[in-house]
Symmetry: C2
Subunit: 233 residues, 2 copies
DNA sequence: CAGTGGTCTAGACCACAAG
DNA sequence: TTGTGGTCTAGACCACTGG
């Protein structure tokens, strides 16, 4: 008999994953419906439902009403990146974090920045450049613009004590954002700040953060060579 | 009255997120327990539970038995990267995909590779180099090693018809993996293949894939300059 | 110990979409 | 039309952990 008599949705999940990995259920194949699996596993349909939803979320199953549940043809792999506060990231490496504010000014945004932030070029925004260090070695250079129309408190905050990076995480009521990574050759200025040769390959992270339809902040981070973005898949 | 009388867990989720974003519930603050919210929202506790679990998964809440549910202090932002098949990625850009196998050989792995794959240097593995094109323009260069002890079918497969990249997605019973991104300067060989100047900044992706404790494949992808990894947050 | 979230159940109804 | 997953409910018990 195949009666496995299992009671937790985690058990059901394990069994389902095992059948997929072992190819007992092959890519594209229709698996039994929830009611049938509930009988087989000796549990309620809701329990099977919970398990199958989790497995489908992870990309192993495609589920459609009436059509049933199939093993995904091309298990879409999803990698979850945790975006930490830079200070924490450095401290987790066992190094000492520090930062220096290199530039702070209220100014009209460059047109490129205004366009990305979808605000008028006439409106003044706060521009802050910060260099982050790990054990006195430059770790990343941060170029940030803050929409002070939305975050006026930023004008009265001392970012030498707490970095903008960290202040925003706690003070910006962000709802969503966009993130992009790319590689770029360091120009003379950036190379100098990061203490590397001009032309070195640099990992660049660009991020915009929105609250509803309003842009809160735009930031570009340039990581010193050797920086690596890791994730499990 | 605060009685919102709502019935779907998505409604509860929206309302909870609204309260967090509007700072009605502030970071670190304890929110009412599930039973109380169920009464307030006029729904079952299970419905509130489902909503709060989803919000907590997204990083906005910290939940602990007995201690209750609190608004996260530092909402840990998680970005979900979808790792597509290169062909699909290119086709979604509206371009024509093609690829060329530049090298294919059964050989002893370099010690660096053997170490990463945790296999013996004496054991032969399949090494394949593929260049991926978008509309005839080099898009990415793929350097891959396959553990043929685990995937002997790879020896009899023609990777000029279907790329290794795509074949593996459908044929490797992978269970987990590691992914890392970094920036690197193109050496002469890579620059030549990608049609760029030597020294150009290149985004490099390194990936290992495991089935239980066995390494299935190791791959390095070098993306032509301009490539950008995007994600919502 | 007692309060909280975590989960399971049996049953019900609904929403969607394939045939 | 009808089979499938999606969800809700009321009630129950459990697991963890703070006090």
């Amino acid at each position: 008999m195949t009666d496995t008599t299992v009671n937790s949705w985690l058990d059901v999940q394990s069994e389902v994953l095992a059948r997929i990995h072992s190819r007992k259920w092959k890519p594209g194949e229709l698996i039994p419906n929830e009611a049938e699996l509930a009988v087989e596993f000796g549990c309620a349909r809701a329990t099977v439902n919970r398990a199958l939803q989790a497995v489908a979320d992870a990309g192993w199953l495609d589920r459609r009403r009436k059509a049933g549940t199939r093993v995904a043809m091309h298990p879409q792999r999803k990698a979850v990146l945790n975006i930490p506060i830079i200070r924490k990231e450095i401290e987790e490496l066992g190094k000492v974090y520090s930062h220096k504010v290199l530039h702070r000014a209220l100014a009209n945004p460059l047109s490129k920045v205004a366009a990305q932030m979808k605000i008028s070029e006439d409106r003044e925004i706060l521009e802050i450049h910060t260099l982050h260090f790990a054990d006195e070695t430059p770790y990343a250079f941060e170029e940030r613009w803050i929409n002070t129309g939305f975050l006026p408190e930023a004008l009265n905050t001392d970012f030498t004590a707490i970095s903008v990076n960290e202040w925003l995480v706690s003070n910006a009521p962000l709802t969503e954002g966009r993130l992009s990574f790319s590689a770029t050759n360091a120009d003379d200025r950036h190379a100098g700040m990061l203490g590397v040769k001009s032309g070195s390959a640099i990992l660049r992270m660009n991020r915009t953060t929105w609250h509803n339809e309003i842009n809160i902040t735009l930031v570009t981070l340039l990581f010193a060579p050797g920086y690596q973005l890791d994730t499990l898949i």
